[in-house]
């Protein structure tokens, strides 16, 4: 399949596809970060994760409409305010879901899976009732559009760069939060030894609720970010769910670094394959390779050998 291209052409193909792979990597990573916390850290399967993302996207849509109607002079910065709203909205919904549903099911992972799937159906229909079946898009301020030419052959879209920037920011933030902050340490303590954490005075129930809500909040940020590169419909969330789970599982569920590495390799592989094969075949091939690797190495890319 390489025979038809010269070396120079191949070079720019790989550079361009590599860059679009970087954007895909950012998207995958951003999707997976929230789940890495909820599933990787807490072991909870949240099948409604995609719907939390969509909620973030809809909140962004509403904010954008609000600004363009009432505060057009501030439209240039609305996006950052929308991200904050998206985080708060999904965080609160996450806390509510944890309180009403998840906390009753911590010892029944398969049941959690089914219940959160039910939740995802309800949310989907809710979106459909409120926002209609049509996909909605947001209008971006001028400075976020267009692209930056690196060479004649290589152009870099600005919104892609912003997505990457946000992803980097959130990833570092999550890492620092888990490793350094008091709440983060508590949440890791609860994961590692619930009984002990409770015994030394950590309120495990509130830590659980906070951790789950945080994961949902990050999903909300992801959803808000995606409005820059695509439109949002009531069922968009369902499209993400398989990719998201595979990224987390492939990385080795409990490892944040693994999630990053896995999002990177899946993103790059898919985007480079996409140039040579049809989009669907590239996706099939990538997912298939991921699954075969997972079958051979179920613990994922990164994991510790621990006593079981």
């Amino acid at each position: 399949m390489f025979a038809d291209y010269t070396w120079a052409e191949l070079g720019s193909i790989f550079a361009m596809q590599g860059f679009s792979g970087l954007i895909l990597f950012s998207v995958l990573l951003l999707m997976a970060l929230g789940l890495a916390i909820i599933f990787g850290q807490m072991g909870v399967i949240n099948m409604a994760h995609g719907e939390f993302m969509i909620l973030g996207a809809y909140i962004t849509y509403l904010t954008s409409n609000f600004f363009s109607t009432f505060l057009p002079e501030l439209f240039g910065i609305y996006f950052f305010i929308a991200i904050i709203f998206a985080f708060i909205g999904t965080f609160l919904l996450g806390a509510f879901v944890e309180w009403s549903l998840i906390r009753h099911l911590y010892k029944r992972p398969l049941d959690t899976l089914l219940a959160t799937w039910g939740l995802s159906l309800i949310l989907q229909q809710l979106y459909r009732t409120i926002f209609g079946t049509r996909e909605v898009g947001v209008s971006l301020p001028d400075w976020m559009m267009g692209s930056y030419s690196l060479t004649d052959a290589i152009e870099i879209p600005i919104n892609g760069m912003i997505v990457m920037g946000i992803t980097l920011f959130i990833t570092v933030g999550v890492y620092l939060f888990l490793q350094k902050s008091r709440k983060g340490k508590q949440s890791r303590a609860v994961v590692q030894n619930r009984a002990m954490a409770g015994a030394v005075g950590i309120n495990t129930a509130s830590v659980d609720r906070f951790t789950f809500a945080l994961g949902c909040g990050i999903a909300g940020i992801a959803g808000a970010t995606f409005t820059m590169i695509g439109s949002t419909g009531p069922t968009s969330g369902q499209l993400y769910i398989v990719d998201t789970f595979l990224v987390v599982v492939f990385g080795g569920a409990a490892s944040l670094l693994g999630t990053v590495a896995s999002a990177f390799s899946i993103g790059q592989a898919q985007s480079i394959l996409e140039f040579f094969l049809s989009g669907s075949m590239a996706k099939v091939l990538t997912l298939l390779v991921v699954i075969v690797i997972l079958m051979l190495r179920p613990q994922g890319l990164f994991s510790l050998k621990v006593r079981r």
């Binding site: 510790l304 050998k305 621990v306 006593r307």
Partner: protein, 248 residues
């Protein structure tokens, strides 16, 4: 080579490391036919890990485990069972949703493959054997109750019964009297006396009176290594052992 004939189990240079931490470090010991060996030692000494290694639950990093001259480290768990090693876990692990009868029946040494299990027939032989074992473990009245209804001590007995029905040549028991009342303890001691005839037994136990009562030889472990070995008196007077138990 030839000396192994006398030993049922020979463990040599056994080591396992978890991420660099050696939970069991260069351990060797030998168990003779019909011997009752007790392993004692403080928490985290690697006692349970030794049992895990012998029965195949954990794979060793180095060393060999020979059972009747057969290397166990390369075998899968169920193959080790078929070779004649039975193991009881620390927490009673039984099938709560099944009846006592069904619990015992599942350990009966027939129909262990998929199609064997599909066509398994509950004939008189099975019923007789289950009844015989149930009587031995004081549960003959409870054959038709669900196992979840048993007391803690009865669950321990049931698990021992599940091993007996396999008739293993080496029986490994992890804290068989933990959590038992005084009268249950006495019954268990009597049960062990009865069942340890005709086979070798490897026991982990904390209760020193119980150890004294049943042990032929005692192996003391500390921090993954064998600290001392011999008769109970020998071990008790060993300064190294006293240091470990009383030193801190």
């Amino acid at each position: 080579m030839y000396q192994q004939k006398d030993f049922v189990l020979s463990v040599e240079g056994l080591t396992v490391s978890f991420d660099g931490f050696k939970a069991v470090n260069d351990v060797s010991f030998y168990i003779e036919e019909q011997e009752i060996r007790v392993i004692i030692g403080p928490n985290g000494a690697g006692k349970t890990t030794i049992l895990d290694l012998i029965c195949g639950k954990t794979k060793s990093t180095e060393g060999s485990i020979k059972f009747k001259g057969k290397e166990l480290t390369k075998l899968k768990e169920h193959e080790i069972v078929h070779a004649g090693v039975g193991r009881k876990f620390q927490n009673p692990s039984i099938y709560e949703d099944l009846t006592v009868f069904e619990n015992l029946e599942l350990s009966y040494p027939r129909g262990k493959k998929v199609f064997g299990a599909l066509t398994f027939n509950r004939d008189q032989e099975v019923i007789d054997k289950v009844n015989e074992i149930a009587e031995m473990i004081f549960l003959e009245e409870l054959l038709l109750s669900k196992a979840s209804l048993l007391s803690h001590g009865q669950k321990q007995w049931l698990e021992i019964g599940m091993l007996l029905i396999q008739d293993p040549e080496l029986l490994m028991l992890d804290e068989p009297v933990a959590g038992m009342s005084v009268s249950e303890r006495k019954q268990t001691a009597a049960l062990l006396q009865k069942i340890t005839k005709d086979r070798s037994v490897l026991v982990i136990e904390h209760d020193m009176h119980f150890v004294e009562e049943i042990a032929d030889r005692v192996t003391v472990m500390h921090q993954g290594k064998v600290l001392s070995e011999g008769s109970m008196e020998h071990v008790q007077s060993d300064p190294k052992v006293i240091e470990v138990y009383l030193g801190h």
